[in-house]
Symmetry: C2
Subunit: 466 residues, 2 copies
Amino acid sequence: MKGNLTFDFSNMCAQAVGAHAIDESRFERGQALVGEVHKAMCEKRGAMAWRNLPYNQEEVVEKIERAGKEIRKKFENFVVLGIGGSALGSKALFSACCHPFYNELPAARRGGPRFYVLDNVDPDLLSGLFDVIDVEKTAFHVITKSGNTVETMTQFMLISRMLSDRLGEKFKENLYITTDKATGILKKIVDANGWEHFIVPDGVGGRFSVLCPVGLLSAAVLGLDVRALLAGAAAMDEVCCRPGLEENPAYLYALLYTQAMEMGANISVVMPYANALAPTAEWYCQLWAESLGKRTDNAGNVVHAGQTPVRALGVTDQHSQIQLYNEGPFDKIITFIEVGQFKNQLGIPSAPFDVYDSSYLAGQSFNKLIASEAAATVRAVSDAGKMNNRITIDELNEYSFGKLLFFFEMATAAAGEFLKINAFDQPGVEAGKIATYALMGRAGYEEEARRLSTAKPAREGFVFTV
Amino acid sequence: MKGNLTFDFSNMCAQAVGAHAIDESRFERGQALVGEVHKAMCEKRGAMAWRNLPYNQEEVVEKIERAGKEIRKKFENFVVLGIGGSALGSKALFSACCHPFYNELPAARRGGPRFYVLDNVDPDLLSGLFDVIDVEKTAFHVITKSGNTVETMTQFMLISRMLSDRLGEKFKENLYITTDKATGILKKIVDANGWEHFIVPDGVGGRFSVLCPVGLLSAAVLGLDVRALLAGAAAMDEVCCRPGLEENPAYLYALLYTQAMEMGANISVVMPYANALAPTAEWYCQLWAESLGKRTDNAGNVVHAGQTPVRALGVTDQHSQIQLYNEGPFDKIITFIEVGQFKNQLGIPSAPFDVYDSSYLAGQSFNKLIASEAAATVRAVSDAGKMNNRITIDELNEYSFGKLLFFFEMATAAAGEFLKINAFDQPGVEAGKIATYALMGRAGYEEEARRLSTAKPAREGFVFTV
């Protein structure tokens, strides 16, 4: 099976792009940390349970494949109820491996249910969905690791009520549930009712959960090769455990990015040249933002670490963002992701009329055009002195995609070690959750509600309606 | 008609969020420039032809409404062939004003054709579209202002060939064309063949073109109220021409943002709390990035100006980006966009089983939940000392949406004046275009092709395949 990834970090170097890039002395500063990073990555492996997912899920995969087959046979629609790490992996998988207009294909061509990820509580989004799906013919995958996520729990309450109003006692047959093995409200519910469910293993945080049931059930429902996905991840794990920097893309990426951050590059753009990978860039955005965006380092020093991830899309955003990337500040690194071989080969025919100066394009192909535009853009941003790197996937399939996901997970974990921060918690989201509880009138949050009701004073003249 | 926007800039101020925000002395520095900015905005009005679009299109609108009606009657699908400024406005309009699963609704419920914007040359995207549309029953709107855009011209060649193979001479009946009134290949083609077409007026650049036929034909095809859209823009124009800072949200936004840029805030996040507005944030990203991302100022000084725009989505990205926004660097400003009244009111029912600590949510609504989460997030990022501002749209409709678009256009133009740069050109995209021509073998670009073939030297050990 094809499925290789080629990494090219040349354009991160001052030799290639000039003064605003990593020079030898900077590289050596990073290099001096690699031994320590490698040691930590090895020693903490036990605490990074997501690194075992490629290896320890034989039984889980069988159960998921059975559930996937059942859902493909029984249901017209499959809806993921989850948000953040419970949603982004499924969206990335769906887009990377399925038809770009999957839900609009005839059922026979799809071979499985239509697919939706409901990762918001927007009333128009939710109401709109019920205009296009029949809930009785829909399987819902309810995912919350903590079991307490307010967005997912309210969706779950709504869907369960709708199902039980229509189906009575049988409503549980449309529900698939994934949560923690011990704690949380959702766990209490499945236990109290004796419902079968899937587990998010201990030590697998939301943003590292795509390769456990959180994402794998979606893959199975979509008819994807779950085992190839895990095999790709395992292959990349093997590579990313190597101690040597120049044979380990995760360490090299992490080193170069953290050095660039020290130089002031506070923005990381991921720009795939394939529509199929646009949601993968969004998945990366959560991984990179939540893992590295931290107020304090491991020693408790206030550092306000973090690099803001940005999703772009080639060639589309050449006509939106490249002006800024080329001419604007030296504040970003771009990861270009290219696909060597698309599923379709599509020629550019001659038009049935004279197209004048465009006639040289006739007889060529869209495949060559998108590859040329990627190469042209890489060259242009490099000539403009902007750091960038390229990942080329020879063929996008479950195996290569598993590699890509696992690469980014390993690179993120390694970056956390370079920065000496905890890449696996998210203390900064608590304040917003507590404020939401208070505003929704949850018992025990009365004091926060009082605090919130004392609005900060608006500056004179800074609020107006037009 | 409802359709008011409330701007709240309080949380841009040091009084509200602390040391990393705009204090009085900074505000005064910006304030000192307002007179000059206002003068320039008035004097250059003639050069900003997009500012006249709310007023000077009576005939165009009639023609567009006729075309829209014809397309709604005759075709099953409507496809925009365009990229960047020729695509993003249509996508924003479609999402803001139409059903969230529009293309999956039954035809009778839609009342018009399914709607697609093909803003890439990805071979899998293009091939995939032909699996779900019958080109004979599809109207294509070909848009390129320059008339030379390689992505759009190749799509146009492909579609024309497919149509003429099936329909013979009649193929033109499925084509609607918008281009410059005088120059470019597309103009030559329509002239040579005597085809009717729409014009992008002089002085209306791609990213400012949503309110001319580029975006308005989409609106008409979708059955939207084109006149209300323009009326909203006109109303906002009136507001944004006011000389006084504290009655003009465009000037105030521009002042605060450019001062924040001087303080090192090089990232501008737009975070609507409504799925319908996610593509509007992408439209903003082009507007802000291409307009302000400039190597030199008006005096020719090398400044590398620009602020990187980022699209986020509430509440979804609370579970992806807020950890970073709260705890990470003080390098960004967030614009929250809220919707007062959604189209649907959706209650949170009780579940048909005990939900334990989630039971306080039953009997409330998703409308209250999304509003509470927005308020909670605004408070949390403010408490974390991060600059932010809020735009609240009482009701999202064509009129209020026209206001919102025009506000951002005026704010961008004003920011260009504060920065003393040309907000209306995009010289930084030429290098990539030329490299693409060379790689695609266009005559006259042989020297560039030779230059590109001498690849930069890869650093030892920085390229590998796994």
